[in-house]
């Protein structure tokens, strides 16, 4: 039963245990200390994530750990490959940034002279932030389809209350709609997992990879799980819950929701298609997934162009940017040319990482703008660059990454995908990649060009903007830029420790 593990496998345990300890301590110490406790935990989490990356980088292999010493199929395995480590690092950085950015209202005491009681926000936000980190780390590490179901529910239960933090009728409705989509999504994911157990007697991803046999039952199972996960990722046409939910949340929460939470279910689609059934689905099935992605790029892009409010524009842009992630599937599964994970998957994951940094920065920038000038009407943002230069700079860099302008991370992602589209002879995806870039350029310049205009009277500031919070937003944008400038190391990390089955090229 007891199997060999690498010594740094304990780091995997700590990446789950730390945020749970953060939740329990926040519960115990209450709003007075929740912020301190959770911020300390988030810093430690960055250290743990870098330790895991170092471990994988030095050995060139995945790190595994068998909980309780029980190996699969009876026990649960944690496994960090390059994909997990990269996403864990993104999660650690974005969550820390969200914690540092959180406004004074989320602190204790919320304002001078307020009674020395715990306030709702000073407890709830930090508890949910900690839970988000625990849930995301579990998504990236668990190798067991049922533990991953629990992880998906954790993600949803942390995300839904964040949507409704302001308590207005519209956000309550958005949160409830999001929850219902999330619940249906995870129950259909679970249905597929249950049936896989019925056929193969295990829920462990690597064991399943060696057992699954193509056939109508497997396609139906895959369809249930993929549709369920797509609903949670807001993949077109199952996207309707996303814009009101992401736009209605407080900016620190919107950043977490758009940058991280939707990536959890996307990550599981990757695990499912690339690791559980590597190379088995037919190219035409992957074309369907790609078509939904392309639909998202078009639909999200056009609707973002039409929005009057900045936060809604950013939320619709999330739908479009998530679409790119799903182009990785048809590109990897080829068009009769066979299954090749390498560059297509790297491109998709690069997009996930770059979008996380850029979108977190953008939502937080929009939050600062709304606080500073009292609204987020796009039509009235002219001349903003002169009053909020740092925020506008961060917004601009993030926008360049979303559009895909070199040398940003978003450019590298789209460039890799474009190259694979060309070499695998799937020129139609290249069309969507390029048109999507123009759409993104269109909706982003709608904001940026007037903001930089010199001949208009800038909006009046109704509240001062914290330099520290502006710096946090800028650092996130610079991370999206750095991902493009130093793209070699992350690109190589993504290929480390991948299960051997994923490299098999089917004839």
């Amino acid at each position: 039963m007891i199997s060999s593990i690498s010594s740094d496998g304990t780091l995997l345990v700590f990446s789950l245990v730390l945020p749970v300890i953060g939740m329990l301590l926040a519960m115990l110490t209450g709003g007075r200390h929740a912020r301190t406790v959770v911020l300390l935990m988030l810093v430690a989490n960055v250290a743990v994530a870098s330790g895991i990356i170092t471990g994988i980088w030095e050995s060139g292999q995945a790190i595994t750990y068998h909980l309780g010493g029980w190996s699969p199929p009876l026990g649960i395995e944690l496994r960090a490959d390059g994909l997990s480590a990269a996403m864990m690092a993104v999660t650690a950085l974005v969550s820390l940034a969200a914690g540092l950015y959180a406004p004074a209202g989320f602190r204790f005491p919320p304002s001078k002279g307020s009674p020395a009681l715990e306030s709702r926000m000073s407890f709830v936000f930090w508890f949910l932030l900690s839970a988000t980190v625990a849930a995301m780390n579990l998504v990236f590490l668990a190798q067991d389809l049922f533990s991953l179901y629990v992880a998906l529910e954790l993600v949803a239960f942390a995300g839904v209350p964040m949507v409704a933090l302001s308590g207005s009728a519209n956000t309550l409705r958005a949160a409830l709609r999001y929850l219902i989509f999330a619940l249906i999504g995870s129950i259909f994911y679970l249905l597929g997992a249950v049936l896989l157990y019925g056929f193969y007697g295990t829920l462990d991803i690597s064991l399943l990879a060696g057992l699954v046999e193509p056939g109508p039952s497997l396609w139906l199972i895959l369809a249930f799980m993929t549709v369920g996960l797509a609903a949670k990722t807001a993949l077109f046409p199952l996207h309707i819950w996303l814009p009101p939910a992401h736009a209605g949340a407080p900016p620190a929460a919107s950043a977490l929701l758009s940058a991280l939470v939707v990536k959890a279910s996307f990550f599981l689609v990757v695990r499912l298609w690339f690791d559980v059934v590597p190379g088995l689905p037919s190219p035409s099935a992957s074309q369907v997934l790609g078509a939904m992605g392309a639909g998202a790029i078009m639909f999200g892009g056009v609707l973002a162009l039409l929005q009057a409010r900045l936060k809604l524009l950013i939320a619709y842009s999330t739908i479009a940017q998530l679409g790119y992630l799903f182009l990785a599937f048809p590109l990897a599964f080829g068009m009769g040319a066979g299954f090749e994970t390498g560059p297509a998957l790297t491109g998709g994951m690069f997009q996930a990482m770059a979008h996380a940094f850029a979108k977190a920065s953008m939502f937080m920038a929009a939050g600062l703008i709304a606080e500073a000038i009292g609204h987020d009407r796009i039509a009235d943002l002219g001349g903003l660059g002169r009053v909020l230069p740092v925020t506008c700079l961060a917004f601009g860099i993030a926008a360049l990454s979303l559009i895909g302008v070199p040398p940003t991370g978003g450019f590298v992602a789209k460039w890799i995908l474009l190259e694979v589209a060309a070499t695998s002879g799937q020129w139609w995806w290249a069309v969507f990649l390029i048109v999507g870039g123009f759409l993104a350029g269109g909706y982003m310049f709608r904001v940026i060009v007037p903001a930089l205009a010199r001949d208009v009277v800038p909006p009046t500031l109704i509240a001062p903007v914290s330099k520290f919070r502006e710096a946090v937003v800028l650092v996130l944008a610079l991370l999206a830029l750095a991902l493009g400038l130093f793209s070699d190391a992350p690109a190589e990390l993504l290929t480390l420790g991948r299960p051997p089955s994923a490299d098999v090229i089917q004839p």
Partner: protein, 108 residues
Amino acid sequence: MNIPTIFGICASMLIGLGLYGIIIQDQVLRKLLSFNLVGTGVFLLFGVIGRRGAEGGLGGDPVVFGLVITGIVVAFSATALAVALLIRLHEETGDDTLLDEAPGEEEK
């Protein structure tokens, strides 16, 4: 036709029926009831798979039964969170559906 198969068919039909209810019902409470029908169907299907795996003098596969117990508790938590949201929404707006915003209710 044996006992697990009968319950397997029952579970499959519960899932279809519940899905129908989730899509077709307007009231959120009814959607939640339907969601619970789907959940029960999925768990029951898992139970059928566990029962088929009876061996070594056990009535079924204990791993499956353990997971179902976990699943039932998680599904309850989900329902409770949804109900709390629904009741707050109802207090704010008097509405118990998720249809688009009533006129005059736009965010200020």
